[in-house]
C-alpha cells in the first residue's frame, strides 16, 4: 500500500523532479565546496534589531521578486501557451507610479496604501492591454508583450519626468528590508503572503481547472461554457498585480526608482523559472509550486556563483550552461532515447534469441 502511494506521488509530481534535482545538486555541490555556505546566523542590523543572515537567507530574500513574477507567469503560460516578456518593464512602470504617488505628499501609511493601489491599478491596466492583444486579437503573447517590453521602461521614465527620485521613509525601508522586531526579511514574508493568496484563490475557486482547460483545448473549454477570452485576460491581469508587487519590493529595497535597472532582464529568469519548474511553455497543465522552486533554484545558482567569487557580469555564462544541461536532461527525446537504451540493456539477450528463432 505504501509503495503504491509513493509511486502515485511521483507520477503526479514528476514535473517537480527537475527543479528538485537542480536544488539538490546545488545543495550537494555547496556542501562539498564549503559547508559553512548554509550557516544562518542572527546578527543585528544598524538599528540594533536582530535579523537573520546567511546565504540561505539571501537566496530566499533575493529571489522574492522573481518568485512572485514566476507565479503570474505560470498562469499566463498555462492559459495562453506563451510568455509575457514585458514583466520587467511593467514592474518598472508600477514602481514609478508607486514613487510618483508617494512623492505627492507627506508619506503616511494611508498614502502608502494609496500608492500601492494606484500602482496595482496601472499594472492591471497594462496587463489588460497585453491580455486584450492576446485574447481578442489572437496575437502570440511574446509578440504582443514585445510592445510593452520595447516601450515600458520609457513609460516608467516618463511618469517621473526623467528623474530617479528617492524616498526616505522608515516604512518603505521596512518593506524592502526588515520590519523592526521581525528577523525575517520582509520580501520573504510578502512572497509567503502572495503564495497563500494564490493558494486560497485556487482552493476556493475552480480557476485552476478553467485555466488548464483553456490552455489545453480552447475549443472544448468554450463548448463547456468557459469563456477563453475572459480567462486569458484574467491571467494577464493577475500577472499585472504580480508585477506591481515585485515593483514595489524592488523600489523599497533601494529607496528609489531607477527605470533602467529595476528588475532588468528578470523576464528571462521568470520564463526560465516556469520552464525549469516542469511547466510546458506551450500551455496547459501547470504547477505553480514548480515555478516557485524553479525561481529559487535560479537564485541559488546565482548566489552560489557569487559565493565562488564569479563576477556578477560573468554569472550569465555559467547560468546558460546549467540551463542547457537541465533542459537537455528534461527533453522528451533524450528521455525516450534513455528509456530505449535501458530497455535494450534489460531485454537485450532475449530479443536476440527471438530474432534468431
Amino acid at each position: 500500500m505504501a509503495g503504491k502511494k509513493k509511486s502515485t506521488f511521483f507520477a503526479n509530481n514528476s514535473q517537480l523532479l527537475i527543479p528538485l534535482i537542480a536544488i539538490a545538486l546545488l545543495v550537494i555541490f555547496n556542501l562539498f565546496r564549503d559547508p559553512s555556505f548554509f550557516s544562518v546566523s542572527i546578527a543585528s542590523n544598524n538599528r540594533g534589531d536582530p535579523v537573520l543572515q546567511g546565504n540561505l537567507i539571501s537566496i530566499l530574500n533575493g529571489a522574492s521578486e522573481l518568485v512572485i513574477l514566476s507565479m503570474g507567469m505560470t498562469l499566463v503560460t498555462a492559459a495562453s501557451g506563451g510568455q509575457d516578456i514585458s514583466v520587467g518593464a511593467l514592474a518598472a512602470i508600477a514602481g514609478s507610479m508607486f514613487v510618483k504617488v508617494l512623492k505627492s505628499g507627506t508619506v503616511t501609511p494611508g498614502l502608502i496604501i494609496a500608492a500601492f493601489l494606484a500602482c496595482c491599478a496601472v499594472a492591471m491596466v497594462f496587463g489588460a492591454f497585453n491580455g486584450t492583444l492576446v485574447s481578442v486579437f489572437g496575437i502570440q503573447p511574446m509578440i504582443a508583450t514585445l510592445i510593452l517590453f520595447t516601450s515600458g521602461r520609457s513609460i516608467a521614465y516618463w511618469i517621473n519626468g526623467g528623474a530617479t527620485p528617492t524616498i526616505e521613509n522608515a516604512t518603505i525601508n521596512a518593506i524592502g528590508s526588515f520590519i523592526p522586531g521581525i528577523a525575517i526579511p520582509t520580501p520573504i514574508l510578502i512572497v509567503a503572503a502572495m503564495g497563500i493568496l494564490f493558494a486560497l484563490l485556487f482552493r476556493f475557486t475552480a480557476l485552476g481547472m478553467y485555466i488548464q482547460t483553456v490552455g489545453i483545448n480552447q475549443s472544448a473549454a468554450r463548448l463547456n461554457g468557459i469563456n477563453p477570452v475572459g480567462i486569458k485576460l484574467l491571467t494577464f491581469i493577475l500577472l499585472g498585480i504580480c508585477c506591481a508587487v515585485s515593483g514595489v519590493i524592488g523600489v523599497s529595497r533601494l529607496g528609489l526608482i531607477n527605470h533602467e535597472t529595476l528588475l532588468i532582464n528578470i523576464e528571462m529568469d521568470a520564463i526560465l523559472a516556469v520552464a525549469i519548474g516542469g511547466n510546458n511553455l506551450g500551455g496547459g497543465k501547470f504547477k505553480m509550486i514548480g515555478s516557485v522552486l524553479g525561481a529559487y533554484a535560479i537564485q541559488a545558482l546565482t548566489i552560489t556563483l557569487y559565493a565562488m567569487k564569479v563576477p556578477s557580469t560573468d554569472v550569465k555564462a555559467y547560468k546558460a550552461i546549467v540551463i542547457i544541461i537541465l533542459v537537455v536532461i528534461g527533453s522528451p527525446v533524450v528521455k525516450a532515447k534513455v528509456d530505449q537504451l535501458m530497455k535494450k540493456i534489460r531485454t537485450g539477450g532475449s530479443a536476440e534469441r527471438r530474432q534468431s528463432a
Binding site: 475557486t205 480557476l207 468554450r222
Partner: protein, 500 residues
Amino acid sequence: MQDDIVLTMRRICKYFPGVRALNDVDFTLRKGTIHALMGENGAGKSTLIKVLTGVYLMDEGEIRIDGIEGPVTIRSPQEAQSYGISTVYQEITLCPNLTVAENMFIGRGEKKSVDWKAMEKRAGELLESLGIPARPKQQLGSCSLAVQQMVAIARAVDTECKVLILDEPTSSLDDKEVAMLFRLMRDLRDRGVGIIFVTHFLEQVYEVSDTITVLRNGELVGEYAIKDLPQVKLVEKMIGKDLADLEHIEKHATADTAAEPLYEVKNLSSSESRPFDFHIAKGEVNGFTGLLGSGRSESVRAIFGADPVTGGSVKMSGKSVKITKPLDAMKNGIGYLPEDRKRDGIVAELSVRDNIILALQVVSGVTHPISRAKAEAFADEYIKALDIKTASSDTPIGSLSGGNQQKVILARWLLTHPQYLILDEPTRGIDVGTKTEIQKLVLKLAEEGMSITFISSEIEEMLRTCSRLIVMRDRNIVGELTGADLTQDRVMHTIAGGGN
C-alpha cells in the same frame, strides 16, 4: 511473387500500449486495380495505411514491393515516396501558406534550385488535364477543402507512383467532385497504378472498386472480388456477429409528442446554419440525418449556442429563454456531446476525473469548486456506471481508447443531469461493443424522461434509437419521418431528394 502484384504485406502486427491494432494482417495489391480497404472505425485500416506509409513502424511482418529485392522497411513518408507509395490523407497534409504549384512539387526531386516558371507551367498542365479547378499561383489556403484534396491527388499522380493510397478522400466532396475523382481514379487504374481506396461510403466502393479487403478489430476477415460480395454480406463481414446483439435493442413506445415540447425554437439561425424550426418533447429521442456537410451538425450546434447565434426565439417548457452561448444552454439543462471528440470534447492532459466534472463545475460556477472528495465520488460512480476502462480516475483522458474517452464525455454531461441531451456522432470512431452500450444507454435515458437528439452517419443506428428523424440536405430541412416511414429506404430516398 506473381507478375502483376505490386505490393505484398505479410503477417503485419502493430501493438500500442494495451492494444493490438493489427494482428497478423495480410494484404496484396495488384497493378491496375482499385482495392477497397473496408472495416468499421477501429478495425485497423488507418493503422495499416500508416504502417505502409512509414508513419508507424510495424512490430512484426514483412512488406515487399514490386521491383525491389527482398522485404523493405519503411521508416518515413519520404522513404515510402521513394518506393513509389503516395498517400492522400483525409485531413489535408499540404501547407496552406504555399501556392498550389509549390504544394505539388515541394520535397520532391534532387534539384537545389526552384524553377518557378517551369513548376507553375507543369502544375497548370496537370491541373488542367485532371480538371481540377485551381490555379498554380493561388495560395493553397484560399482553395476549398475539396480542391485542396484534389491538389494532393494531383501531386501523388505526378510522382509516378506505383501505389496510390486514398484515405477517405470523398468525405468532404460533393457528388460532382466525387464523380470527377472517380474518373481520375479509373484513369490512373488504366495506367497501371494500384490504388488502395479507404472509405466508409458503401455505394462508392461498389462504384469504383475491383477488390475488397475487410478488416475487423485489427484482424483480416478476408479478400473478396467485388462481384462475389453483395453489399449486405459486406456489412455482415464488417460488423460481424455483434449485429445479432444489436437486434436485441428495442425501441420503447414513442413519447407523447403531442404534449407541450420541452424545447422549442422558431427560426433559429447561427453563423454556420440557416434558419430552421425545431422542437422536442420530454422523453423523446429524435435525430438529424443527412450527408456530411448537409448542415445536421451545424443545426444542433446552433441549438446549443456553440456557434454565434444570429436569430430565433427559444422556449424551454413553454417559457421564453435566451440561448446565445454554451453556458446559457447548460444553465437551461441542455448538454452537447460534440462531433469531433478530439478537437471539441476531451481535455487531453487533464485526468478522467477532471474531464467528468468539467461541465458540472462550470454550471455551478467558478466560485463554487467541487471538492476533491466529491469529484472522486462522482468520477468513481460514473466510471462504474458506464464501465469506463481506465487505470484510475487520475489517468489523463488522452491515454484512453476512443470508446472510453467518449464514455467520459458522456459521463460529463450525465453528471449535470440535463433535461435535454444532444449527441452528435457519439458512436464515431469507437468499437462495436461500446456503440451498442451507448445506444442502449440512450434508450434507457429516454425512458427515464430525458429528451435526446441523436446524430449518426450510420442510418441503421438512428433507426434503432430515434422515433423521429429530421432529414437535411444542402443545409436545409427537407423532410421529417416518423412511425412507419422510419425505414432505411425512405430515409435514403429523402436524403437523396426523392422523398417528397
